[in-house]
Symmetry: none
Subunit: 225 residues, 2 copies
Amino acid sequence: MSEGRVADRAYAAIVRMITDEKLSAGDRLPSEARLAATFGMSRTIVREALARLASDGITEARLGAGSYVKRRPSERLGTHLPMDEMATTIGTYEVRFVLEAEAARLAALRRSGPQLEAIERALEQLRAALFSHAPAHDEDWQLHRAIAEATGNAAFLPVFDHLRDSVVHILRAGVDISRSRPPQVIAAMMEEHDAIVDAIRVRDADGAALAMRWHLSQGRKRLMP
Amino acid sequence: MSEGRVADRAYAAIVRMITDEKLSAGDRLPSEARLAATFGMSRTIVREALARLASDGITEARLGAGSYVKRRPSERLGTHLPMDEMATTIGTYEVRFVLEAEAARLAALRRSGPQLEAIERALEQLRAALFSHAPAHDEDWQLHRAIAEATGNAAFLPVFDHLRDSVVHILRAGVDISRSRPPQVIAAMMEEHDAIVDAIRVRDADGAALAMRWHLSQGRKRLMP
DNA sequence: TGGTGAAAGCTGTCCGACCGCATTCGCCTC
DNA sequence: GAGGCGAATGCGGTCGGACAGCTTTCACCA
């Protein structure tokens, strides 16, 4: 049937259950055993999916009590949502907008041959991960970092690494949620990356900056429709 | 004994195993069953820990082959490497150009009354320090940081603080060099700051960004004529 | 009616088993 | 002796069951 790991289907199924059945933050999910019976898979797999959901901040497991919805995946702008985290996410994007656009611009101007190869290698690894249903947020990050590295400006990297922890869990949630959407969403995400790398390859500085800005704006839209 | 979940202990134990036994990227980890036996816990828990390791980009599971080290934890956990080279320190200007210009732009758009007061207070402290014989680089930094704070975007501050060590280096050198020059150089530096704060005061976003870029370009010229 | 304790349900953890895939190694062929 | 092939072995992925400890529920008792 569906490709990919069973846990991915479980993750997507639970996300769909939350959105379709209009569960709100604080609502209780069916027990792991019941979910497993409903989906026709083992409790082991349901537990793995719930662990990732919890890691993405969408659900929360309470020992002896059950799993609860912490935040709706699609309604990230809900009123009961901690504005704190929302502001942090938006704020991270503002920083990334100026920082990564400039990095892409400089990378287009200065990238060496080996640096371009590293970027294209990271691009292909991201493509493979995205289409193989493997976790892809790390590959995503590695591509962005390879671009920062190609600026030839060592000052970019520490700043990027410093942003990593805030960004990666956003990327993970973004990729996971996109997985539960039509496949063209994944394809679109990949085309955005292709456009950035294409511009860097032909040394189109303004094009690279624009493609990066576009990619980030689309990413923010995917996360917060 | 150790508090917390068993999987946390497994995660830490595997990280310790990678660092202590000096495993490099590409090296193979013991099988899940062997790890479970070594740590005295079930394979289930080891699998949960490995799943999180893989999600963090540290290990990679290859079906039928085993788990492999993808990237050493220290490369990610060690926050950053010290930027020793003067060349890389100069590179911070490129980062500051985009980052501080954007911060000034956002500050002009969003600053609250109290935030403007804080900026003007920092400005006056910088003026007093500059025209005395006291070191002024810290006051300089405090002004730039107050502007970042006025963006209302909490994501700017950690990035700024991270850059601080490299920046105060530059500021100190810049101020010291300027001191050995005619007093109008000091006055010019002060006027640049005034222009930035003026633009923020009247909510002139583009003007604030331009003034900040100008200030930074002049600063770089002062440092590297 | 109000409080209490037992029961039911849940997650966290552990175990043993099976399947399909990768690698390895010995055997066979030339 | 060299090279190619297939079986054996080891491994991760998945499954079902089991038990401990914690929470919630609710019927029973005072």
